[in-house]
């Protein structure tokens, strides 16, 4: 068994292990419900639109996005910096394995996006089967090109002109030829391919990809080692500093700053609120008020593991701050943020046509918040 197959085997074992945790976690129902609800809303939305809807423009924008934001896996480990050095010149099978693995996952990502996009295009455009096939191939090629560009250390934006070319052909109604510009980056990638493993670059890619994988898993299972991204957010910090932070106790102070600056808290709340607003806009029916508890629940679901991670490796373990005080401090912030999110979404739901369901949504949100905050203990 070569090194790549061994590591692929370890990865598969890990995926199976975590899948079992996720399945047993009992929180899956929130995600199932969101997916079913999303499909229901999307279906209603598709029934309401016709050929005048700019579906092809949306498809062109999606083509531009496809090469971006990939987190390829390389299975490189920190210890490889020492122990893999002697083999670096003779490790082509490993590199081929990594490229194939990422190619498959990039294609899967493209196909997942197509699951959402194709029904829209079929509804708004009158494509032949050749054009549909060409569009599918274009999506997969651009997704793969973006991912492989990262693997080879080529900047993602170098793929964008090709995506722009495909999008242009799509807009010009030459969809059957859109795959040609999407194929072109592979020539560039072939010319710029690495002959030896760029160890540090691949290690960074692996760490980022692993962090993303762990972030998703952490919604269901406690993963104390998960790393977070930090943003300074000077303006919000200054605004809160004199009014709140200076007057609160140590636990509220430390959790307040972490919530403001970590991509896992304030960013998460903002992202999910924006998605909730889009879902409300797309639905526009009597059930719009139920979007509020759904997205408040999704936010709370992710705030709970964040606290457990903060607890795992923390200075406060030896400071004179008891565990009850820490829970109280974190709950204080989480409660306020979730209530603000609920109020914003309830107001938005009324604006999008909710009536009595807005009030039911608010009550359900409070129940959901209380349920998740109890899980902190």
């Amino acid at each position: 068994m070569n090194r790549f197959t061994a590591r692929l085997g370890n990865w598969m074992e890990e995926v199976v292990k975590y899948s079992r945790y996720v399945a047993n976690g009992g929180l899956l129902f929130t995600l199932y419900f969101t997916l079913i609800y999303g499909a229901f809303v999307y279906n209603n939305f598709l029934e309401r639109i016709d050929g005048t809807f700019p579906g092809v423009w949306i498809a062109a924008v999606v083509l531009l996005i496809m090469p971006l934001g990939h987190r390829p896996r390389t299975f490189i480990q920190e210890a490889d910096q020492v122990f893999l050095l002697p083999e670096l010149g003779d490790i082509r099978p490993y590199m081929i394995g990594v490229r194939l693995f990422n190619l498959v996952f990039a294609a899967l990502r493209g196909l997942l996006v197509l699951l959402v996009l194709l029904p829209l295009l079929v509804r708004t455009e009158s494509y032949s089967s050749i054009e549909v096939l060409s569009f599918v191939v274009t999506m997969v090629l651009l997704s793969a090109a973006g991912r492989l560009a990262k693997v080879e250390g080529v900047r993602e934006w170098t793929i964008l002109p090709f995506a722009l070319g495909s999008g242009f052909l799509l807009l010009m109604d030459w969809t059957q030829w859109a795959w040609i510009p999407a194929f072109a980056p592979f020539i560039l990638l072939h010319l710029k391919r690495n002959e030896r493993i760029p160890l540090l670059h691949w290690l960074t890619l692996e760490e980022k990809s692993r962090a993303q994988f762990e972030r998703v898993i952490s919604w269901f299972v406690d993963l104390p080692t998960l790393k977070e991204e930090v943003r300074e957010r000077r303006l919000i910090t200054r605004l809160l500093d004199k009014r709140v932070l200076q007057h609160v106790d140590a636990s509220r102070y430390v959790y307040g700053l972490r919530i403001i600056r970590s991509n896992d808290s304030l960013d998460l709340i903002l992202r999910l609120t924006v998605v909730a607003l889009i879902v409300m806009w797309m639905s526009g029916g009597w059930y719009v008020g139920f979007v509020t508890p759904l997205f408040v629940g999704l936010t709370a679901l992710q705030l709970v593991p964040l606290f457990k991670r903060l607890e795992a490796v923390s200075i406060v373990s030896w400071l004179p701050i008891t565990r009850d005080e820490r829970i109280e401090g974190y709950s204080w912030w989480a409660l306020r943020l979730l209530v603000i999110q609920s109020i914003v979404l309830v107001i938005a739901s009324v604006a999008f046509g909710a009536t009595w369901d807005a009030a039911v949504g608010l009550v359900l949100s409070i129940v959901v918040i209380r349920y998740y905050l109890r899980r902190l203990k």
Partner: protein, 245 residues
Amino acid sequence: MLHVDRLNGGYLGKQVLHDVSFEVKKGELVGLIGLNGAGKSTTIKHILGLLSPLSGKIEIDGETLDSSEKKYRKKVSYIPETPILYETLTLQEHIELMGKAYDVNPDDLAARTKRLAKEMRMEKQLAWFPSVFSKGMRQKAMILCALVTKTPLLIVDEPFVGLDPLAIRQLLQLFDEYKQDCAILMSTHILETAERHCDRFVFLHQGEVIASGTAAELRETYRLSAEATLDDIYVEAIASEERLS
């Protein structure tokens, strides 16, 4: 200031410490010396209340963890061997956190921070996030956070790791100043430095205290000449212990 009395403890299913007893008095810097795995860090974790003892008593300035966890913890600050900092807080914010946690008067905190940051050459770094700190800076940040609290007891675990010679000298001066009205327990492997700055030593071996006292007292115990260094005393203590077992 610190009384450790017949402490038995360790990790789940593994007893590491056996009847460990020693004390650290006000105005003293006591060196906790031992080989790798001797039980130094385990002893420290018990004093900090991060591990629960199987039996025995730990008292800091008259307080125990059982009598009042909060009061007990307010008596002790800690510099760990591996710096642990919040990536989301600047150094200044870490100090603010320490001030709030230990109820330090804001004016005192500001004055101490200013002075200590200057002495440790960390003034510029006060506004920085730990992600841009070097290994030595992270260690200095931990030291700064502990020293601003001015607690009656300071516990230091291998403080010299990652520090440059100038920073080590500065740190030892700060320890000499700190201990004047407080007490310090320092675990270290660097015996030469410990010999020059510690008032007393506690030798740990396989989870037991095999000797304690001043350098002169230990020389006498092991019948060594006045020229014998702490290194010589320690080697003799271990050899004598191994001969006995």
